[in-house]
């Protein structure tokens, strides 16, 4: 524990033996494909599938009319297939299953759809304008939701301020671009049971979601999840293509595989929503924050869903609001969030709703620091929440290493001597981040089984998919630690199968190591207790006098008195037919945040940190070259430091894309970035030198004191880059991505005004 052990799945992934959903082939399997709307908004006048059905090799064609009674993906959400209107480019209007992918694609070409184009709106600002086209003709306005949260008294706070700063930050639509595109295999048997292979983060969500839509009992939906090739919070939902795959299988009575191509994913563009975030903050002369008024506008898709924006496509609303009280002491906050409908759909991203608020807040802090002529590190040190503090929404901070992270990063980067030489072309920028381990929005538990075998090895049976983040390695380390085994003697059940795997929250909300990790720890403890109890009987000693380590049970006082784990378990299981099967569960100790008020009592284990980025900016072309990214992260306790660093490196990568390159762009009737030629994610060659340090301020609730590292750091990357550009050439760009052209424009405006 605490060592950078190699990943348990490294071998099979390097050799290509690891099985992903895209590798799954089952006998008699057909291939499905979806015909998609080329229009942003249109009425479907007719769909003629006659020719497609006649194409040899085509086994089924499905239209929206046939399946409209199946319901919507969630109440108020998009239908499985459009039947009356299409509301976004890429919305499914029909689907086909055929003997091979080629024939399925050919079949789509033979489906004739007549549309009547309707006015559409894809731009967030445009959608808010009085008299704008309606994204959904059944709604009276494009505003689908307004939410308000308030803590303290902002009027009083602003009265106490010596200075007030206002900022507006525009954030773009970005897609996480996992390596394995979304894919499913559905096998609907003739007894009405569905087996469903899925590349998902949360098998149970898929199980329950599909059961609900298809009118099945959850027990009749068996979801199997092999290795997942990346997910980044974008594979947590039941997507329409999954239901279509199941329905095609039902219609033909054969298994059907349906995968989305990169072009389809980038055309739909179900990434994070664009945001317009306005922040107005009062500050005292010494830098103390007194009040903030935050106004957030998020796009929410073309469906007027009731409910909470943060829970649905928008990613706005309360998830954003409830992150405002962190990580600075700010007693008076008012949040107003609006969700606006446009003819575009959105999905999850690392830190949905929270990363955007972090980016805006950190940019805002840097602007305040510049206005007040306070060093941005000092401004943060002056306001940082500390262990024992209570945040504005009542959240008690059980541990917070932010000041330590700031001090360490300032020393490492020689911040004081190197920052603040505007105009030099080279610059250093900073931002902080903060993230709660384990979602504070829900309170969901995980369970785990640990099976100790007669050969003295153990298998962890879990419902927790391996996304490529190393979860199975960390969970195996926990089992090895608790049972005194070597890591190589612990196996993880190869794939997740909801018919046998225990309940699991899934790797989402940065709670995998915490919630499932604690459950695994409990299960291993349970197995250990069973072993010690039997060993005590065999050795004629008391359980408390025994210990289990290095494959044997010893009498603590006389270690020569021992029994090999191998012998003990073999005897138990072979002679007595008694398996050693440890069971464990874990439910987060804290209460979920109140949806109504956004209040909380105990802040979950709080991870935080600081990012410093060094850039070089070409004044003549506006090009930004990243030189170095330094991160100091409060991890509580690093169960496997190499994996923690890997997570942070991945977020630096995502953050760079969001800051400089990625921008999913759509016009009415046209997607401009449907391939990797124009949707530009950073390549390995675009990564700067990376320097990551881990600070360990443990939280007793985390397994071994550990805290999250999977979502927080990303929030600091883009604002640190923006700040570094400012330090280099003296201009601040408040809209992402920061293109060379925006820098040149800002330099011109600055030149004109000075």
């Amino acid at each position: 524990m605490g060592k950078s052990l190699p990943r348990v799945d490294a071998g099979v992934k390097v050799t290509g033996d690891a099985v992903f959903t895209c590798d799954i082939k089952v006998p008699r399997m057909l291939y499905g494909a979806i015909l998609r709307s080329p229009h942003s908004h249109a009425r479907i006048l007719s769909i003629d599938t006659t020719k497609a059905e006649k194409l040899p090799g085509v086994k089924a064609v499905l239209t929206g009319q046939e399946v409209k009674d199946k319901g919507e993906l969630q109440p108020g959400f998009e239908p499985v297939l459009a039947f009356d209107y299409v509301r976004f480019i890429g919305q499914g209007v029909a689907a086909a299953a055929a003997v091979d992918p080629h024939t399925a694609a050919e079949a789509l070409k033979l489906i004739e759809v007549e549309y009547e184009k309707l006015p559409a709106v894809v731009d967030l600002s445009e959608a808010m304008r009085e008299g704008s086209s309606l994204a959904n003709t059944s709604a009276a306005s494009n505003v689908s939701e307004t939410q308000i949260y308030q803590w303290g008294d902002i009027e009083k706070g602003f009265r106490e301020a010596d200075y007030i700063r206002e900022d507006k930050i525009d954030l773009q639509n970005v897609h996480v671009c996992y390596l394995e595109t979304t894919v499913a295999v559905a096998d609907y048997d003739r007894n009405g049971r569905l087996t469903f292979w899925s590349s998902t983060q949360i098998p149970e969500t898929i199980q329950n979601g599909l059961a609900g839509i298809l009118g099945l009992k959850p027990a009749d939906v068996r979801v199997i999840v092999p290795y997942v090739g990346g997910a980044h919070s974008n594979k947590i939902n039941v997507y329409s293509f999954m239901v279509i795959t199941a329905l095609l299988s039902q219609k033909c009575g054969r298994p059907v595989k349906l995968g989305l191509s990169r072009e389809e994913l980038l055309t739909e563009g179900r990434g994070t929503t664009p945001f317009i975030i306005r922040m107005k903050t009062g500050v005292k002369k010494d830098g103390t924050l007194t009040a903030m008024h935050c106004h957030l506008i998020a796009a929410g898709g073309p469906f007027p869903a009731p409910g909470v924006p943060g829970k649905r496509q928008s990613g706005g609303g309360w998830m954003s609001a409830t992150y405002l009280p962190f990580p600075y002491r700010l007693p008076n906050i008012r949040f107003e969030g609006q969700t606006i409908m446009t003819n575009h759909v959105y999905g999850g991203q690392r830190g949905t709703g929270r990363t955007p608020i972090r980016i805006a807040y950190e940019c805002h802090m840097n602007n305040i620091a510049a206005d007040l002529n306070i060093d941005p590190v000092e401004l943060r040190l002056c306001n940082a929440l500390r262990t024992g503090d209570t945040a504005a929404n009542g959240g008690k901070m059980h541990s917070c290493g932010l000041t330590g992270c700031l001090e360490q990063i300032a020393a490492k980067t020689r911040w004081k001597e190197r920052r603040g030489k505007p105009g030099s072309g080279r610059g250093l920028g900073i931002a902080c981040y903060n993230y709660h381990t384990g979602s504070s929005f829900n309170r969901i538990s995980s369970a785990a089984f640990v099976h100790v075998h007669a050969d003295g090895t153990a298998t962890l049976i879990t419902g927790h998919p391996e996304l490529g983040n190393g979860a199975h390695t960390v969970l195996s380390q926990i089992v090895a630690e608790e049972l005194g085994l070597r890591l190589e003697d612990v196996r993880v059940s190869a794939q997740i199968d909801t018919s046998v795997s225990p309940h699991d929250i899934g790797p989402t909300g940065s709670m995998g190591t915490h919630t499932t990790g604690n459950a695994v720890k409990a299960a291993a403890d349970d197995a250990r207790r069973q072993i010690l109890k039997f060993a005590a009987e065999r050795l004629g000693e008391k359980t408390k006098d025994l210990e289990l380590k290095q494959g044997a049970i010893y009498l603590k006082s006389h270690p020569e008195k021992k029994i090999a784990l191998f012998d003990l378990v073999r005897e138990l299981s072979h002679r007595d037919g008694q398996p050693v099967l440890g069971k464990g569960t874990h439910t987060p100790e804290w209460e979920a945040i109140s949806r109504e008020t956004g209040n909380m009592k105990d802040v979950p284990p709080n991870a935080c940190g600081a990012v410093v980025v060094e850039v070089e900016v070409d004044r003549e072309t506006g090009h930004t070259e990243l030189v170095k990214a330094t991160v100091v992260h409060d991890i509580g306790f690093a169960l496997n430091p190499a994996l923690v660093e890997g997570q942070i490196e991945g977020q630096i990568h995502h953050g760079i894309g969001q800051a400089l390159y990625e921008d999913h762009r759509t016009e009415v009737g046209r997607v401009l970035t449907s391939t990797f030629t124009d949707y530009r994610i950073p390549r390995s060659t675009d990564m700067p030198e990376v320097d990551i340090s881990l600070l360990e301020i443990p939280d007793p609730r985390g397994p071994f004191g550990g805290k999250e590292c999977a979502e927080g750091p990303q929030g600091g990357v883009a604002p640190a880059i923006i700040d570094a550009i400012y330090d280099a050439v003296g201009v601040r760009i408040n809209s992402l991505p920061v293109t060379p052209e925006k820098i040149i424009q800002a330099l011109k405006e600055k030149g004109a005004s000075s």
Binding site: A33, P101, H102, A105, G259, L260, S261, E263, E264, E620, T621, H623, Y661, R665, L672, T673, T677, D678, R680, P682, R683, T685, D686, T739, P740, E741, I744
Partner: protein
């Protein structure tokens, strides 16, 4: 998912055979070299040829050779081979430089010089350098062959002077005089992306007087085709180049270019960048020539 449509496939072993297949195809046949442009377009439904004629079995179309005073590059030479070619890097460094700034290794390993030119993208990375080097292209058809300056090869985006039975077989570059300096400058969102704007400068300098005997300034991605800027060249030719002349030449180039606004950049930004790129290209070409000439003296 996007799949290649059905097509007939031929693998001729001689240029004559390829020309005759191409002619028989009657405009519905396409030549296949590396496929990095064509196959992608076919998958996206932008090209629907009935047959593909692969040139990959015609060995004579490959390789870089010195023939007399010319560097001859077979049309099927890959971009990677050009990057690695010591002949190219010694005799025509700007071309090696440009090839190295094009795309990523996977594409460079497949993509060919002939394909890059015949695709006739205004943003093609090899074209400005090759025009800067005064290259000529040889085209072979059923009834004979012809050789023209590369500059006259492009008609517009995706359009060339190739006739329906003609194949681009090789590119020849007159080996530059010793004191020739060249530089290719390119702007793209990330390194080695499709160019937002690019400029090549090749300057032939008198070894003693340091007067510019000949100059070629070429722009990419800022007009319907790669274009040569005679006006800029006139500013430099016959003179000992100074800073003001460089600025003047750059301004002339910015006036000539006719960029469009697209997803990568606006026309205004591109025009402005032409100024910077041309200025930098001339500056670097001068530096290079100076280094060569002082290096020569040391010997």
């Amino acid at each position: 998912m996007m799949y290649l449509p059905r097509f007939a496939y031929f693998e001729p072993e001689t240029i004559e055979e390829a020309c005759s297949l191409l002619s028989k195809g009657g405009g519905k046949a396409r030549l296949l070299a590396g496929g990095t442009d064509l196959l992608v377009k076919m998958k996206r439904g932008l090209e629907k040829p009935e047959s593909l004629i692969s040139l990959n079995r015609i060995a004579s179309l490959r390789g870089v050779h010195l023939v007399g005073d010319s560097l001859v590059i077979g049309a099927l030479t890959t971009i990677s081979q050009m990057v690695d070619s010591s002949l190219i890097n010694e005799k025509a460094g700007i071309l090696g430089q440009a090839a190295g700034m094009m795309a990523l290794p996977q594409v460079r390993n497949r993509g060919t010089i002939g394909g890059n030119l015949c695709n006739a993208s205004p943003a093609a990375d090899t074209a400005p350098a090759l025009i800067g080097l005064d290259s000529r292209v040889r085209m072979v058809g059923l009834t004979g062959e012809r050789t023209i300056p590369l500059e006259k090869f492009f008609l517009g985006p995706g359009q060339t002077v190739l006739k329906s039975d003609e194949i681009l077989t090789e590119i020849s570059i007159p080996v530059p005089a010793r004191d020739t300096g060249g530089s290719y400058q390119k702007l793209s969102p990330r390194h080695n992306d499709l160019a937002t704007a690019s400029a090549a400068a090749v300057l032939v300098m008198h070894p003693d007087s340091r007067v510019c005997e000949d100059a070629r300034i070429v722009l990419g991605a800022v007009a319907p085709a790669v274009i040569r800027c005679y006006q800029s060249e006139q500013v430099l030719k016959g003179k000992a180049i100074d800073e003001e002349m460089i600025r003047q030449a750059a301004r002339a180039a910015a006036e000539i270019c006719r960029p469009v606004s697209d997803i990568r950049a606006t026309a205004g930004y591109r025009k402005e960048m032409v100024l910077t790129l041309v200025k930098r290209a001339i500056g670097q070409a001068l530096n290079q020539s100076r280094q060569l000439s002082s290096g020569g003296k040391m010997l």
